[in-house]
């Protein structure tokens, strides 16, 4: 790494750490219903929203009603987007007259945005109108993010509250999260992104002349769309000369910010945040990396404040940072060592395939670990073209269960489950009843934690296995050999863990992936969310056990190390065989010279 790259890396993490405390305590105020500096403007809006929608803000909900309300709102989101995608040709703000998408793609995309996955089986500039981007996608970007955050807050309340079955009001939490946290940050930072060159308009696509015309051979088709062949069986082609190109336009900046802030990840364009209109400068890249890590990082502090001990939050953040920086180190090493098969051709030995010059190696690699450690899934780099060991890093970060910062909210509640498991295992070793944050961990908590942690892994392995014996899935791989397996494994890991990035060579817009993927995303989102709410309901009813001499302190360094080990061991035990067959075999093949 050169000086600039070191500086950039250090500054990203320093700025993040500086922001964790102010944002984290602000969020704690918002969810505890306290006054903030935004209250004078937003309290009237809030009251009006409750009046119109018939919400009684003071009314508290038990875990079942909280989960039920969450599912109802998510169902509305799903239906809304599915209908919009199927009828987008009927709505205004469609200057390119883009037609409706197929029902399979509409299903996959609607599930994907509702579950905060934002798996991109669609190509934005060709398949989606401005209306769908704004009214369909933007709303999901806000509300699915808010859903994750408020579930995490309800879980924290479960730990903190005593002898009650009430976890808060889902409608109030969601409304406050959107109004006080997500919208203000989005408005300000989307303008900063526009200043860097991210576009924001409703203009039709621009047609500009090329300085030098280009040409390509287009296969000729017959009336039925089947490629024509000559007498020798070669495809018949005609040479097309291209003298002008169309440049897509649209309201990009407003989508870009919330896509990252809410760890959503669905791109306005097919190339996502690699597209110069989504991410035009090194500064915009820096801001986008920060946006991805911001809320998941700050939520650890919110957790600390609400739990009455901020060390508990810093401890979780420390574990997350340690693993994230470790993965970044390996990735940076792998990508700057490059591909020996390419170096042999007389080319400088770093890997720039699928990266942008303005982002450079460190700017690309930081984005890769940020977007896969969290469940964001926006990309500024084509993960499919990373070196084998480099590509294993994003895959491993996803497979750990989206806890290394993780999705907004979902990262925190899954991490809390890992903490419970760590407490339980150490409790077994020292022969004491496990406790976490003053609550006894018993059978129900263990069931729910284990369910949360294992469900995504089981889904990934079972569906990847089925894919390997499904001809349509095998035909979708774009690269031969071990790399093809990595593509499929990555696809299901990404969907089941609600990440949304891809080894994008895989042709995912086929029925098998659209349908199985929808299933994986739904399981990966709602089974853990409901399980942790059930756990929170059970925890809230328990009485507080004051720490005694025999209590394992969970806010100190030894526990942080123990928690890191538990995470890595669970991850390795579940996925090592699959990783060995994919990236590791490919790495050895590469070193061996194919």
């Amino acid at each position: 790494m050169n000086m600039n790259e070191w500086l950039q890396t250090i500054v990203v993490f320093v700025v993040l750490l500086v922001l964790v405390k102010p944002l984290g305590s602000f969020m704690a105020k918002v969810f505890q219903g306290e006054r903030t500096f935004l209250s004078p403007v937003l309290v009237p809006c809030e009251k009006m929203i409750y009046r119109i929608s018939g919400v009684t803000p003071k009314e508290e909900m038990g875990w079942k009603r909280y989960a039920g309300s969450m599912l109802l709102l998510n169902l509305m989101l799903f239906i809304g987007l599915f209908v919009i995608l199927m009828t987008q040709h009927l709505f205004p703000l469609n200057p390119q007259r883009i037609p409706a998408v197929t029902w399979q793609l509409a299903l996959n995309t609607a599930v994907s945005f509702t579950t905060n996955t934002n798996w991109q089986a669609y190509a934005g500039e060709q398949m989606v109108s401005y209306f769908t981007q704004m009214v369909g996608f933007a709303v999901h970007n806000f509300v699915s993010a808010a859903t994750g955050i408020v579930v995490a807050i309800a879980v924290v309340r479960g730990f903190v509250r005593r002898k009650t079955s009430m976890l808060g009001n889902f409608w109030v939490d969601t409304t406050r999260c959107t109004l006080y946290i997500l919208l203000p940050i989005s408005i300000i930072l989307s303008l900063v992104l526009v200043s860097q060159g991210v576009i924001q308009n409703f203009s039709a696509y621009k047609t500009v002349p090329l300085v030098q015309s280009t040409n390509y051979d287009k296969p000729k088709m017959d009336d039925k769309g089947i490629p024509l062949k000559d007498a020798k069986g070669n495809p018949v082609t005609e040479n097309i000369i291209v003298k002008e190109v169309r440049i897509p336009m649209g309201p990009v900046a407003s989508q870009e910010v919330i896509k990252e802030l809410g760890t959503n990840g669905g791109g306005f364009f097919n190339a996502n945040s690699a597209h110069p209109f989504e991410n035009p400068t090194p500064l915009s890249n820096f801001i986008e990396i920060l946006l991805i890590l911001l809320i998941p990082g700050a939520l650890t502090y919110t957790f600390g404040v609400m739990a009455g001990n901020t060390h508990q939050g810093w401890m979780l953040l420390g574990v997350m940072l340690f693993i994230l920086i470790g993965a970044f180190g390996v990735l940076q090493w792998a990508e700057s060592s490059g591909n020996p098969l390419v170096a042999k051709l007389g080319v400088q030995s770093i890997n720039m395939e699928g990266k942008e010059v303005r982002n450079g190696l460190a700017g690309s690699n930081l984005f890769v670990v940020a977007t896969t450690g969290t469940s964001c899934g926006a990309v500024n780099t084509m993960h499919d073209s990373l070196t084998p060991i480099g590509g294993m890093m994003p895959l491993a970060l996803i497979l750990l269960g989206e806890i290394i910062f993780g999705g907004v909210g979902s990262g925190l509640y899954t991490m809390l489950d890992f903490a419970i498991i760590a407490v339980f295992v150490s409790g077994l070793m020292i022969g004491r009843t496990p406790e976490y944050l003053g609550k006894k961990i018993e059978v129900k908590e263990m069931w729910m934690s284990i369910l949360t942690i294992l469900i995504a892994g089981v889904t990934v392995l079972v569906l990847s296995g089925i894919a390997m014996i499904t001809p349509q899935a095998v035909a979708s791989m774009s690269n031969p050999g071990a790399h093809g397996l990595s593509e499929v494994l990555y696809a299901f890991s990404s969907m089941a863990n609600n990440n949304g990035s891809a080894f994008a060579g895989l042709n995912a817009n086929v029925n098998f992936f659209n349908l199985c993927g929808s299933l994986a995303m739904t399981i990966g989102r709602y089974v853990p969310a409901i399980a942790v709410l059930a756990m929170a309901g059970s925890l809230a009813e328990k009485k507080y056990v004051p720490p005694s001499l025999g209590t394992l302190p969970t806010d100190k360094a030894p526990f942080a190390i123990w928690l890191t080990l538990v995470i890595l061991i669970v991850g390795a035990l579940t996925f090592f065989p699959a990783l060995a067959l994919g990236p590791i075999v490919e790495h050895l093949t590469m070193l061996g010279g194919v």
Binding site: V194, Q212, A271, V347, E353
Partner: protein, 187 residues
């Protein structure tokens, strides 16, 4: 029952706020403060005719122009309607052959020594407007020879089209190929 009503109404309210009011506010302020950027950083000639976007690369293969990075966008390179990368894996034999062919083309124009990686490896968006200063300098002799313009003048044009790091540490210096070629055409 009450919750179903709340779910429907809140969904509609959020749709209006996040899907309508929010993008409208951002667009309004963006037009007022940064009209050039909001509209796509379009380069225009003296008569106001649009020549392209400073952020979206274009395809060049003529020896008299500086060449950009390879692009894997659909049917032809730098097709802005089909942004995306090659997604080629590192051990894919087709990919390695393609890179080898690109090296050969550069060698045929008289390039010696190690070739910068980005000049023979496709970008993530397929629309990357930049190359490194090294990749630009390595093409100076060719452009100078074909155009019959002194190398010194071409080098000055390269320096003018070079963008520096932001705030002194964000990103490495880089050359905007479209801007450079428009400049070279004026020499």
């Amino acid at each position: 029952m009450k919750d179903i009503k709340s779910a429907i109404l809140l969904f509609i309210i959020f749709t209006v706020i996040c899907g309508g009011i929010y993008p409208a506010i951002v667009t309004g302020i963006a037009y007022a403060l940064f009209p050039y950027q909001a509209m796509g950083s379009l380069i225009t000639d003296k008569n106001g005719k649009e020549l392209g976007s400073a952020l979206i690369g274009q395809s060049f293969s003529d020896p008299k122009y500086f060449w950009p990075r390879p692009s894997a966008t659909g049917d032809f390179g730098y097709n802005a309607m089909a942004s995306g990368g090659s997604n080629a894996g590192p051990t894919n034999p087709d990919y390695l052959k393609t890179v080898g062919d690109r090296v050969t083309i550069l060698r045929d124009t008289g390039v010696t020594g190690q070739i910068p990686a980005e000049l023979v490896q496709a970008s993530a968006s397929g629309l990357d407007p930049h190359i490194s200063p090294e990749s630009a300098m390595l093409q100076v002799p060719r452009v100078s020879r074909v155009r019959g313009i002194a190398e010194g003048k071409i080098i000055t044009a390269v320096q003018q089209a070079t963008e520096a790091s932001q705030m002194g540490f964000l990103g490495a210096p880089r050359v905007n190929v479209l801007v450079l070629n428009l400049e070279v055409d004026k020499l």
